[in-house]
Symmetry: C2
Subunit: 354 residues, 2 copies
């Protein structure tokens, strides 16, 4: 007495097992197993838990698989095991070397452990980030790496509800429930400003572009340092929402000259801008640092080679990527990482431009 309709299909038929090669034409685990004369699970183990299979048999399985052009199906594996071996990584930009180097650190830590990174670019927009989180959650990532700490409310809901381990990179979070690896952008801004003060500059300007949270934190550091010295002047701060570029840095020099600024030093929120500024100063015959000091942030490769070389603050982005990935690996293994908030510090680099 089954719920199905009586005898239905005359007889269950010969159960046409036609294992050889799936729909897609690719060989399956069952095909390999049949050829070797064993069961599929042993093939699975030969790949995933080699120590459980006798060496000679294992070798025979691998050889056969190779000769049949067998490639494991990751989707089937992920479905059956509930582990995608994938980490979603969201960064604001791919044309900014800072994030690319962070990615390199992440890759170098994840790949040897068998994890793959799924990279998404948010273009500095929390809304786009939310959209990407939604998309990438479909891949059931075993972990998530996010840049920065400003996410939309909906994004936060997704992340907490689905409870994939998540680590925030670049900025540091004080919330004890969250994990973060980075450095204090505010301290970086303060460090540079203090240096400029020590060098005797008194009318220090600041150029902020993109206006992402990290840029604004640097601006805060700059402001605090100048306020403490009683030298902060809002009129020496330029805020532009445009994306950063060498071109924009050069244009800012033109603008400062046109506005007849009284600045004796300008702190650009990153090295791209500062390099553009140096190039334009050279073009216009503005003597750096005598007439105008120029400072940057991040320490890009070219900054050690411009004329004059650029004073800047080096950020440990490769290390940030590595450590964030390492922290995530701990979490994915169910281990508690040594620290939930890892400050990797900054390195101030004094060069000729100040």
């Amino acid at each position: 007495m089954t719920t199905r309709g009586g005898d239905g299909t005359a007889t269950p038929a010969v159960k046409t097992r036609k294992p050889r090669s799936s729909r897609t034409g690719r060989a399956t685990m069952a095909d390999v197993a049949e050829r070797v004369g064993i069961s599929a699970i042993t093939v699975s183990r030969a790949f995933k838990r080699p120590e459980l299979v006798m060496p000679e048999l294992r070798q025979r399985i691998l050889d056969t698989a190779q000769s049949m052009g067998y490639v494991p199906n990751q989707a089937a594996s992920a479905l059956a095991s509930a582990r995608s071996m994938t980490v979603a990584v969201l960064i604001p930009s791919m044309t900014n070397m800072v994030f690319v180097e962070t990615l390199a650190g992440i890759h170098d830590m994840l790949l040897p452990r068998g994890y793959r990174a799924l990279i998404g670019v948010t273009h500095y927009s929390p809304e786009e980030e939310e959209r990407l989180i939604r998309t990438y959650l479909q891949f059931q990532p075993d972990g998530i790496l996010l840049t920065g700490t400003d996410h939309t409310a909906v994004a936060r809901t997704y992340l907490s509800a689905l409870a994939s381990p998540t680590v925030h990179m670049m900025e540091l979070l004080d919330d004890p429930d969250s994990l973060s690896v980075g450095c204090s952008q505010e301290e970086g801004g303060r460090l540079m400003t203090t240096h400029l003060l020590e060098r005797g500059y008194r009318r220090i300007g600041f150029v902020a572009v993109q206006l992402d949270p990290r840029t604004l934190a640097r601006l805060d550091g700059y402001r605090h340092a100048l306020e403490e010295a009683g030298l902060y002047d809002e009129s020496r701060v330029w805020r532009l929402p445009d994306p950063s570029s060498i071109h924009l840095g050069a244009a800012m020099i033109d603008r400062l000259m046109a506005e007849n600024t009284d600045c004796d030093a300008v702190f650009f929120c990153n090295d791209d801008l500062a390099q553009g500024a140096l190039f334009q100063c050279q073009r216009r015959g503005i003597r750096v640092p005598d007439q105008l000091a120029v400072a940057g942030f991040n320490d890009l490769p070219a900054s050690a080679w411009t004329t004059p070389t650029l004073t800047t603050v080096a950020t440990p982005r490769y290390a940030i990527g590595r450590h964030a990935a390492a922290m995530l690996l701990d979490l994915m293994d169910g281990k508690e990482p040594p620290q939930r908030r890892l400050d990797l510090g900054l390195t101030f680099i004094a060069r000729e431009s100040t």
Copy 2:
């Protein structure tokens, strides 16, 4: 009379449906269907084929899914439909802007069509590329984008056997079975060399680094142009396997000076090197282009700002990414692309350094 052993399990039992939330704690399609009071397949259709579901029902499904925090499981979808909606993209380097911009073009074309890119970095090694192809084939990508045309024999076997549509980027292939989008690197080398000859330079050097096929093709173009002019001299060619960098370009200037070269112009195989060379010339007081002309390749952003500005050849890498992705989309739709070999050309840019 079934092949299975008689009545076996006493009665088919209550078929313990415990649908609410899967192993992973996430809501499944069945959960959403149950809540709405419909069958799972309709939920599937509401997401994938919305035109097949009545608008009000569809809205009710989407709302319910949203409220339950339902996220489709991509692995299950891929397994059932044999479509991963994923494209594997292999590039040689991520710190080289050229490839990053290619990636941007690929993304911009694929994402709106619902495809995701799985990015792999080969570090200019065909062996590493082969390894990555093997790894990424596990994801059953619906298409593959490769950089360049030199792949290992094994890699070729994988690609032809598994027959995922594949497009080669950057270089052009003459093989009518393969698809490629790019520009002629050889022509680029020839273009620049011809320009230098026209400017009156007669002792033109060439610095090749990394020694990847594209660099060597540029070198070929340089050699052919000089041979035609009867001015080729092997002693003016420097070949270094090192990765490209500003630092190396600067070091090459030192080396040329130390070797007391008679070159009146040097064609660097890319802009990074050429920029480093310009920086170092400035440092050492070598007048460019009077004393020594400097030329690059690729047209990076900074090349328009150095002192002097850099003569170079602009490569259409963003367009290459876009067109390669478009070609792949055609193939994945089963359509034959308009052309199997797409030359996007090059733009010669004369500036102050020559």
